[in-house]
């Protein structure tokens, strides 16, 4: 079976333009040969509310600050940034989420609070995954989770390096993958893929441009 690839049209990220129909997405490819015009938009499932003792516990505790959701069988808590520190602490101490798998971020430049910060957690005793997601404004700091999970050290440094999000209380917040003197945060959406810190390249590599 061949896969045809459309050349990527440079398109701005549409902000949740589609309202997915509520039907099941089981049948995606129609029986008729799929013409480019008849591109069936996969009717996507929508995140639904997640009900579980754990979700209930935290909605009770933090009220509207916590919104438990589930999408494609994966559960996450969409939380207000003010409760993040307490919530993560409680998840670690009371609910045995002892392994912080990953910390990452997503940039939505058109949003009022343009950054999503995401913690992916796992609990060995429960064999369960959980994501915690919060929205923050540009320049706003997030509480560091290094005191909770030491592994957060490098993960937070990478988020800082790539997005410029600062973590309050991090023991040594500096760039990790890019050189120390680099300007700009490449995984922000306004940083073009060909963009480089020309000044850094000229000073340190002695060449006009890295392209």
């Amino acid at each position: 079976m061949t896969e045809e690839v459309k050349t990527p049209a440079p398109q701005p990220p549409p902000e949740a333009a589609k309202t997915p129909a509520a039907e099941k997405p089981a049948v995606v490819a129609p029986a008729a040969p799929p013409k480019p015009a008849a591109l069936a938009k996969p009717a996507g499932p929508v995140p639904g509310p997640w009900t579980s003792p754990l979700a209930e516990k935290y909605t009770k505790r933090f009220g509207s600050g916590v919104d438990p959701l589930t999408y494609l069988g994966q559960n996450y808590l969409s939380v207000d940034h003010s409760v993040v520190r307490d919530l993560l602490q409680l998840l670690r101490e009371e609910d045995q989420f002892d392994y912080c798998v990953d910390i990452t971020a997503v940039h939505y430049p058109k949003r009022e609070r343009p950054f999503d910060v995401i913690w992916i957690l796992y609990s060995f005793p429960r064999n369960e995954r959980l994501r915690v997601k919060t929205q923050i404004a540009d320049g706003e700091a997030v509480a560091s989770s290094v005191p909770i999970w030491p592994t957060a050290n490098w993960l937070e440094r990478e988020v800082y390096d790539m997005f410029g999000i600062t973590f309050e209380g991090h023991p040594d917040l500096k760039r990790i993958l890019l050189p120390d003197g680099w300007k700009g945060h490449p995984l922000r959406k306004d940083y073009s893929i060909l963009q480089q810190d020309k000044e850094w390249v000229q000073i340190n590599l002695g060449i006009e441009s890295g392209q």
């Binding site: 690839v5 398109q11 549409p14 089981a26 490098w154």
Partner: protein
């Protein structure tokens, strides 16, 4: 430490310029100051371009700092500028000694996002190739790790046998290392004629070879001296530091994603998860040796039970997942390899985050080498089994 100055007889007799015309330092030569030395980025034992700054007291390591990023290619940024299908070969370039695992993780993550499933036959092919790749990755690890410690022979043995796996890859998909073996929705290629027989032959060929590796090392006195009680890490520390894979298992935590949250066709097979007790370099060696044998067991079951049927699922020609986000992870040879993908409903992923096991495991280096000797740093870097292409991405 400063020696009390200006009251020793030597002090008075010391000429201002030495006879050899070397300016003598003010301090005596033998002092107990801490020494900072730089290891890498170009160093044969760092398995790539890793720079480690070591703080030493004589031969003893007081602390380390890793400087990484020399191989940073911005894989996650590239992903945002490619379609889902176009990004597929890029993931092979992260952990390039286990490219098949990378591809499996990525394809399964996108399939989850699309809410489709690969057909059973494709899943079996995936398992066979991924497990072959795990053996290849462990063989490469064993050869280079032993070489770092001073045992040269295993390198030749393991590379000779790894070649057989690469030949199977080459016959299957044309590439030896960066295989791009899988597609979103299944596999592109049907197995070639004689594939099953060749895989079975390989199993029969490599089983005694693993015994040979063990004969060279397991009871070798020098090997024991260099690996026992070196780089010890406890299970609790592993979990706190997010360390996964054979390193975690060697510390006594019986956790393998293939068992804990089975993906592909792993639920169909019987295999054991080896665990160590001491969490030292020797136990990690033993765990990986057993893992190779268990992989052979899985491959054997998969080849014998491979079902007939299609190898490609019902995937649209243009991959356009609905708006949403997904995290999917697999047990790569180095540990938990995860993909967090955000879709905005277009043909290009809005964000792809790779959770690289090598990157997270490398963070444990500092804890593991504190109080050890400089030579042990080399052993511990080897035992962590890092691939810098994946650390830096």
């Amino acid at each position: 430490m400063n020696v009390p100055a200006k009251n020793g007889p030597q002090e008075a007799a010391k000429p201002s310029v030495s006879p050899l015309n070397i300016d003598r330092p003010e301090k005596p030569y033998l002092d107990s100051d801490e020494l900072i030395i730089n290891m890498g980025p170009q160093h044969p034992a760092t398995h790539g371009v890793l720079r480690v700054i070591l703080k030493l007291d004589g031969e003893k390591v007081l602390g380390t700092e890793c400087v990484i990023g020399y191989l940073h290619r911005g894989v996650e940024k590239i992903a945002e500028n490619r379609t889902y299908t176009m990004f597929n070969p890029y993931v092979d370039r992260m952990d390039y000694v286990a490219a098949v695992s990378n591809g499996l993780g990525y394809c399964e993550a996108v399939e989850k996002l699309l809410n489709v499933e690969a057909p059973a036959r494709a899943k079996y092919i995936r398992v066979i190739l991924t497990e072959l790749n795990r053996i290849a990755s462990h063989q490469l690890w064993l050869g280079t790790h032993a070489l770092d410690i001073g045992a040269m022979t295993p390198l030749f043995y393991t590379f000779r046998d790894r070649e057989e796996i690469l030949k199977i890859f080459e016959k299957y998909c044309g590439a030896r290392l960066t295989t791009h073996a899988f597609r979103i929705g299944g596999c592109q290629y049907e197995t070639y004629a004689g594939f099953e027989k060749e895989v079975k032959n390989f199993i029969a060929f490599v089983r005694p070879k693993i015994d040979e590796y063990e004969a060279l090392l397991t009871t070798n006195r020098i090997w024991l001296e260099r690996t026992k009680n070196v780089g010890v890490i406890s299970g609790a520390d592993c979990i706190a530091l997010g360390v996964t894979g054979p390193v975690l298992r060697a510390s006594g935590v019986k956790w393998d994603l293939r068992k804990a949250q089975p993906y592909a066709a792993y639920a169909d097979f019987e295999f054991d998860v080896p665990v160590g007790t001491n969490g030292d370099t020797y136990d990690r060696y033993l765990v990986r040796m057993v893992e190779m044998r268990q992989s052979l067991r899985i491959i054997e079951q998969a080849v014998n039970g491979i079902p007939e049927g299609p190898i490609m699922g019902k995937v649209p020609k243009v991959i356009k997942p609905p708006v949403g986000e997904i995290y999917h992870s697999i047990e790569a040879p180095k540990g938990e390899l995860g993909y967090f993908i955000v879709s905005d409903g277009s043909t290009q992923p809005y964000r792809v985050r790779v959770r690289p096991p090598s990157f997270v495991n490398l963070q444990a280096l500092d804890l593991m080498v504190r109080g050890m000797l400089v030579a042990d740093v080399v052993a511990v870097i080897g035992t962590l089994d890092i691939v810098l292409g994946e650390v830096d991405r």
